[in-house]
């Protein structure tokens, strides 16, 4: 609060030269580099969404022609999935707080961490290059044989951009796992770890084990398109369905790469703003691992109508249902954490509570898609679009914004304006629901996804959705503005403005370059906000 608390020397003012940022190995500075990058990508992807939501105001293709529209939704999907959602929480918030939560001076491999950012940027520039050169029109799913043999667009460059960025993800995951294993402070046992660490660990497992499969798949696709080496080409006897298997083997778990870190952030925030230890800590921790493990076994539910065996479909349906259990465990335990808490509704808490509600709806509508007979009807319709936006935007993005607000004082040493924060959280919640809820109805009515023209009776709901999107867009611009404003004009933050537990709050705001003057020693469990008398586990 007072000027005294602001440390004279910290990681931000340790060196002002441009070079000191581009060659930094400090995890906190790398997190800032990622934050700037993913924010740029977010607004690129968002701009595409603005254009196609405008196009969808009318049933005819009057704003964009088909070619443009197809490139826009591909751009939106590729950029948002691979260059915003997947790196957002792990590479920005995870990078920043994970070593501090562990009481470490840095990640285990700081140079590798910097290399990951450069690899990410190279991949990102390749993808943006593909867009600038005319874009790709395959959708972010790159289904063969359309992508390999028929599309007339920059598929190879786009796929290779994702391929390259994948290695950034792999190396980040590897770094996190090793750091969590070897760099924990004395006394910080596994069950004293904050739940954000557990969720990042589960996420990293998926990154390390799933991403290489996507990498090889996209490489094979590029080889087929560019060199004529046909692995999926039906004319040679190849199987386009094999592409889908390999693609979803990564890309379904990738959904959990997006949502698991967000769940970790929510655990931190809910505990802090209700002044309670997370209800059922062990259940929540193991639920993260369970989601990561089961997540690898459910990819076939993307292919219920692809004509595979009925029995395989049933196995995948059954396994997909199981994901509901750890998800429900988390939701109920977060809610129960409020019980007998001391709840205050600052901006991060508003995002966290919003997350719980939207994730609940997103998760429950996932069950519709796991139920085979219903999925046959709603597969590839707007129902699916609505469902995964509830998870990815209602879940992952809300978690990311909640986390950004929660750790903003730690990252920048300044407070964001609380009133504006609450206002934009409310606007985003309302805008989000208005955008995506009508899409559930549209999907059940049968509106296919990825169309720029649709039949007239779908117009009313589409107009509602587009109206919501404009509110949502405004909701995202407000935080961008006031967060930048706060860098200069925000109130100075104390070391622990929320009165939170956790080692990251025991460093100054902003922290010094090596985080801790001397390695902290941990003597208690995470979230010791109260003195529960009989709370076991």
């Amino acid at each position: 609060m007072d000027e005294e608390a602001y440390p004279r020397r910290n990681y931000l003012n340790a060196d002002y030269r441009f070079r000191s940022w581009l060659w930094t190995t400090d995890h906190k500075r790398i997190a800032i580099l990622y934050m700037i990058s993913v924010t740029l990508f977010f607004f690129i992807g968002g701009a595409a969404a603005v254009i196609f939501r405008l196009e969808l105001m009318t049933p005819r293709g009057d704003l964009t022609i088909a070619e443009t529209y197809n490139r826009l939704f591909t751009l939106h999907g590729v950029i948002m999935v691979f260059f915003f959602l997947i790196p957002s929480i792990p590479a920005v918030l995870g990078n920043f707080v994970l070593p501090m939560m562990l009481g470490a001076r840095d990640l285990a491999f700081p140079k590798l961490n910097l290399a990951s950012w450069y690899i990410f940027m190279i991949g990102g520039l390749m993808a943006v290059g593909a867009i600038v050169a005319g874009g790709a029109d395959t959708g972010w799913t790159f289904y063969s044989p359309y992508s390999s043999l028929y599309s007339n667009s920059n598929v190879i460059l786009m796929a290779l951009g994702i391929f390259v960025a994948g290695f950034s993800s792999i190396l980040t995951g590897l770094n996190f796992i090793v750091t969590t294993h070897t760099m924990r402070a004395p006394g910080l046992t596994w069950f004293r770890l904050p739940l954000f660490v557990w969720s990042l660990y589960a996420t990293s497992l998926i990154m390390v084990l799933g991403t290489p499969v996507l990498a090889i798949t996209l490489l094979l696709l590029a080889a087929e398109r560019g060199l004529g080496i046909g692995i999926f080409d039906p004319a040679l006897g190849g199987d386009p369905i094999l592409f889908q298997h390999l693609f979803w083997f990564y890309s379904h778990p990738a959904v959990y790469i997006m949502i698991l870190p967000s769940m970790g952030v929510i655990s931190e925030i809910v505990a802090c703003f209700s002044r309670n230890r997370i209800f059922g800590y062990t259940f929540v921790a193991f639920a993260s691992l369970a989601i990561a493990v089961i997540g690898f076994l459910v990819w076939g539910h993307h292919m219920f109508v692809a004509g595979g065996s009925i029995y395989a479909g049933m196995v995948f349906s059954f396994l997909s249902m199981l994901v509901a259990v750890p998800s429900a465990i988390k939701v109920f335990n977060w809610t129960a954490t409020l019980y007998k808490g001391s709840v205050s509704l600052e901006t991060p808490m508003l995002y966290a509570l919003g997350f719980i509600g939207l994730f609940t709806l997103g998760g429950l509508t996932g069950l519709f898609l796991a139920t085979i007979a219903v999925d046959v009807h709603v597969h590839d319709t707007y129902f699916v679009v609505a469902h995964f936006h509830y998870i990815m935007v209602g879940g992952a993005v809300m978690g990311y914004l909640g986390g950004i607000h929660y750790w903003w004082p730690k990252i920048t040493g300044r407070m964001y304006p609380e009133w504006w924060g609450r206002l934009s959280a409310g606007i985003i919640f309302i805008g989000f629901n208005l955008t995506f809820f009508p899409q559930f109805v549209l999907g059940y009515l049968g509106m296919p996804r990825r169309v720029h023209e649709y039949v007239d009776e779908f117009q009313v709901l589409n107009v509602m959705s587009s109206a919501g999107a404009s509110i949502l867009g405004v909701g995202y611009l407000i935080p961008l503005a006031y967060l930048i404003w706060s860098l200069r004009y925000g109130r100075l933050a104390s070391a622990n403005p929320w009165g939170a537990t956790g080692l990251e709050w025991r460093t100054p705001s902003p922290p010094t370059t090596y985080n801790f003057d001397k390695t902290p020693v941990v003597r208690e469990e995470a979230y010791q906000y109260d003195q529960d008398e009989l709370l076991s586990v």
Partner: protein, 337 residues
């Protein structure tokens, strides 16, 4: 007739529609219940335990903790198992093809649907079907993956190149409904749509008679002669090649000892790429027809070859084969036969 106002719920026009909708309604109720439960719980707890309120804040959960955790593990698990079993049972009916269906051939290509009826009439982006009869669509794509989607019937199936997929339904309400391509298939994907017309059987018969095209069997016979298939494969067979009489649906022993069932997929592969599966005792001397026949022509040849098999009159299907135990699954992946 095709004009529809604002709707919140799709038309129910097939025998599947009310059954899928019942399951959907169950899912909606479960979802609404839990969403409201969580929403109300959050609001209630956040208000009751707001920081300014004076409350007892000592949590004494103890043994009740395990009960709570067990409850919110077991109840979701039980509910999802109901969803799984219900959905899987219904899906089984969607995927097991009826034996007395009218079989239509569907070819998807960028960006249109070409459909041919057994009596010969063809149509593009339109599908005329009679009320109350099971309809089976045997579908293949000439290029990329498409997906044949009839929302009012709650049915959908991906249409792949080089592989037959089948889809069936029974229309229950006369009317005009939408036909969409659900799988993104390129530039004009949005326009790959049309209408399905459900007609009274008598109207359907009249409509069928309105076409002038040859029935597929006749067209197939002409192709059989034109491509000189008959020089080797004439009735009765000869040492150089296996006989086609009574072939359809029967088990065939291949040169590598495998036994496959002579279904549509096998016949198609044997026409286009004969060396892939060679019948035991014969040399792979048949020319490759890959690239020389359109998918419609392959359909015609298959219909002709099917007509060479003696069908028991009452079912319209060949005598049952020993191998397939679970009826006639839609996916005809004979590749792994």
């Amino acid at each position: 007739m095709t004009e529809r106002g604002f709707q919140l719920f799709p038309d129910q026009a097939s025998s599947f529609a009310p059954r899928v909708d019942a399951l959907y309604t169950f899912l909606v109720i479960v979802s609404a219940f839990f969403t409201l439960l969580i929403f109300l719980a959050i609001v209630f707890l956040a208000v009751r335990y707001r920081r300014s309120a004076v409350r007892d804040r000592k949590r004494r959960v103890g043994a009740k903790f395990w009960v709570l955790e067990a409850v919110w593990i077991v109840i979701p698990l039980a509910l999802t198992m109901i969803m799984f079993l219900w959905g899987a049972a219904l899906h089984f009916d969607q995927r097991i093809m009826p034996r007395d269906a009218i079989e239509l051939n569907v070819v998807g290509k960028q960006w249109m649907w070409k459909i041919q009826h057994p009596q010969g009439r063809s149509e593009i982006n339109e599908l005329h079907v009679p009320l109350g009869r099971p309809i089976l669509l045997r579908m293949i794509s000439e290029d990329v993956i498409h997906s044949f989607y009839l929302p009012a019937f709650r049915v959908k199936m991906d249409v792949l190149p080089d592989r037959y997929h089948a889809l069936w339904f029974e229309a229950t309400q006369p009317g005009v409904y939408h036909l969409f391509c659900a799988e993104y298939c390129g530039t004009e994907h949005a326009d790959m749509r049309g209408f399905v017309y459900v007609m009274q059987p008598s109207e359907y018969a009249t409509w069928l008679a309105g076409g002038e095209q040859q029935p597929p069997v006749t067209a197939g016979e002409a192709l059989f002669t034109r491509f000189r298939c008959d020089t080797c494969h004439y009735q009765g067979g000869q040492p150089r090649c296996p006989s086609l009489a009574n072939l359809f649906g029967q088990p065939v022993r291949l040169s590598d000892g495998q036994i496959v069932s002579a279904e549509e997929q096998y016949i198609r592969e044997s026409i286009l790429n004969p060396a892939a599966k060679v019948v035991a005792g014969y040399q792979p001397i048949m020319p490759i027809y890959e690239g020389q026949l359109s998918e419609e022509q392959v359909f015609h040849l298959i219909e002709y070859i099917k007509s060479l098999s003696v069908m028991p009159p009452e079912t319209g299907q060949p005598a049952p084969v020993e191998e397939p135990a679970q009826g006639f699954p839609a996916d005809e992946e004979n590749r792994d036969g």
